[in-house]
Amino acid sequence: MAKTIQAPLPGTFYRASAPGEPPFKLEGDAVAVGDTVGLIEVMKSFTPVVAEEAGTLIAFHVENEDAVMAGQPLYDLG
């Protein structure tokens, strides 16, 4: 049963540490507690999105560099 993980804070969501770098997680990847799944940029400062639960990353709800609001669905964990 998939679970939807929400954005912990508002900002711009990034899937990689820098442009041109590989994404932190691909769809289908295993996610362990403490893994970085993405970054959220809030007012020019970057906060990692860290997994609080383990599982398999089924799908992202947002694209790289999309604007997100706190509580918005970020990714599905199965």
């Binding site: 804070l9 508002p10 900002g11 711009t12 940029e41 007012m43 020019k44 400062s45 999309d66 604007a67």
Partner: protein, 466 residues
């Protein structure tokens, strides 16, 4: 060229500032808005708004093609770039001009010339403006480095030619230290950057940041005295003053005259700022770079000279000659600007966007607040954290600090934390009151005693308007 409508290619408080100046000149405004900014104050104040793209700035306010297209489609004939974003982008200025619009700023070639630090340094030297003493390129070997360091004067910074962003820097206080550090630095530079080339520059440990405001019409230039912006955190200015109280009147004349020489040499058009380091132990000043735009801290200069910088830069862009001679510009009193940001100073300045649930703005004699805030506004997370700039002007520096503190005491922003408590602590600090600061002072002060202020905004209710 006749201008009737200005496109505001920026957001926040500077967009509000430009709209006000344009309206006083009888001009219309069209405000650029990203998808996240439809309800910002500038969008409410402008005559019209024009979408420029999604929330993320690289896709909207930094998208040159989208901005120029929006300006043309909305029937504007001039573009004001504000500060940040595309304001110092020579290609953008060129695209604006090639589209047949007036760029409210310097010529694209001037932006390009002064944006290149090496070329700006050469122009400064040609204009007789002192630059930080250093070698004119890579130093071949240790013997040459010793000879050059003796000429430059210790302490010297050893910098990797291929480095950047502060990486690969060593400081040698005397020749023996240079002999140890030079080969080490070269080896590290080779390992880190694939190039062991080093150059030397004078190290100024206790520098103050002082900058001179200029206005030019492409032929003639004047200065509007200087500002001191030494209180910085992470290279971001926090508190700015005009004039710089640490200068003698002779030093002030030499500094400001040097800025006019450089501005006239490059045929500067519009409002610009020349940044210097000032060593108050030796009384020397050194040009470091030029900002070819209006700056965040321009209001302190407006308060002490009585000259509207934004209005003047618009009229210059419309082809009018500089309306001022140097003799018309006098310094009156002292002004201080405190940048109020949506950050929590008690939580390592964590950025804190959110909704403003209550607001009371300071006022009274000698107080100005340039802001993007209104009650009910939701500060978006996508941009800079600057909420507004509180400026206090009074007859003396001591009186201006007192007035700033009084005004800070009236400011109420409910719903999100702000950096106002930092400014109250600075206003109360004996070193700040005595003016004994330098560019690293604020970070050392914060490291020594982190601010213990409430996480949330002040709990006291906003005073009821009479």
């Amino acid at each position: 060229m006749a201008v009737s409508t200005i496109f505001i290619a920026n957001r926040g408080e500077i967009a509000v500032r430009v709209i006000r100046a344009a309206r006083e000149l009888g001009l219309h405004t069209v405000q650029a808005v990203s998808a996240a900014d439809g309800d910002m104050l500038a969008a409410r104040l402008a005559d019209a708004v024009a979408p420029v793209g999604p929330a993320h700035a690289t896709k909207s306010y930094l998208n040159k093609e989208a901005v120029v297209r929006a300006a043309l489609e909305s029937g504007c004939d001039a573009v004001h770039p504000g500060y940040g974003f595309l304001s110092e982008n020579a290609d953008f200025a060129q695209m604006v001009e090639e589209a047949g619009l007036v760029f409210i700023g310097p010529r694209p070639e001037t932006i390009r010339q002064m944006g290149d630090k090496a070329r700006a340094r050469q122009e400064a030297q040609a204009a007789g403006v002192p630059t930080v003493p250093g070698t004119e390129g890579v130093v071949a070997d240790l013997d040459t480095a010793k000879a050059e360091a003796a000429r430059i004067g210790y302490p010297v910074m050893i910098k990797a030619a291929a480095g950047g962003g502060g990486r690969g820097i060593r400081v040698a206080r005397h020749e023996a230290e240079l002999a140890t550090l030079f080969p080490q630095a070269s080896g590290e530079a080779r390992a880190a950057f694939g190039d062991g080339g080093l150059y030397l520059e004078r190290f100024i440990g206790r520098a103050r940041h002082i900058e001179v405001q200029v206005l030019g019409d492409g032929k003639r230039a004047v200065h509007l005295f200087e500002r001191e912006c030494s209180l910085q955190r992470r290279r971001q200015k926090v508190w700015e003053e005009a004039p710089a109280a640490c200068l003698t009147s002779e030093q002030r004349v030499a500094l400001c005259d040097s800025a006019v020489r450089l501005a006239e040499r490059v045929g500067y058009r519009g409002a610009g700022t020349l940044e210097y380091l000032f060593d108050d132990e030796t009384g020397e000043f050194f040009f470091i770079e030029m900002n070819t735009r209006i700056q965040v801290e321009h209001p302190v200069t407006e308060m002490v000279t009585g000259i509207d910088l934004v209005r003047t830069m618009i009229s210059i862009a419309m082809g009018e000659p500089l309306p001022l001679a140097q003799g018309d510009i006098a310094l009156k009193g002292h002004a201080i600007e405190a940048r109020i940001c949506a950050e929590d100073p008690a939580a390592d300045f964590r950025p804190a966007p959110g909704t403003v649930t209550g607001l009371a703005l300071p006022g009274g004699f000698g107080v100005r607040f340039d802001t993007l805030l209104y009650a009910g506004y939701t500060v978006p997370p996508f941009y800079d954290s600057l909420l507004g700039k509180l400026i206090a002007h009074d007859e003396s520096r001591a009186a201006a600090i007192t007035r700033l503190d009084r005004a800070l005491g009236e400011l109420v922003v409910e719903g999100l934390p702000t950096t106002a408590p930092l400014h109250r602590a600075l206003a109360a600090d004996p070193a700040v009151r005595a003016g004994r600061v330098h560019t690293r002072w604020l970070e050392e002060w914060l490291a020594a005693a982190p601010l213990a202020v409430p996480l949330a905004a002040p709990a006291s209710p906003a005073p009821t308007p009479a």
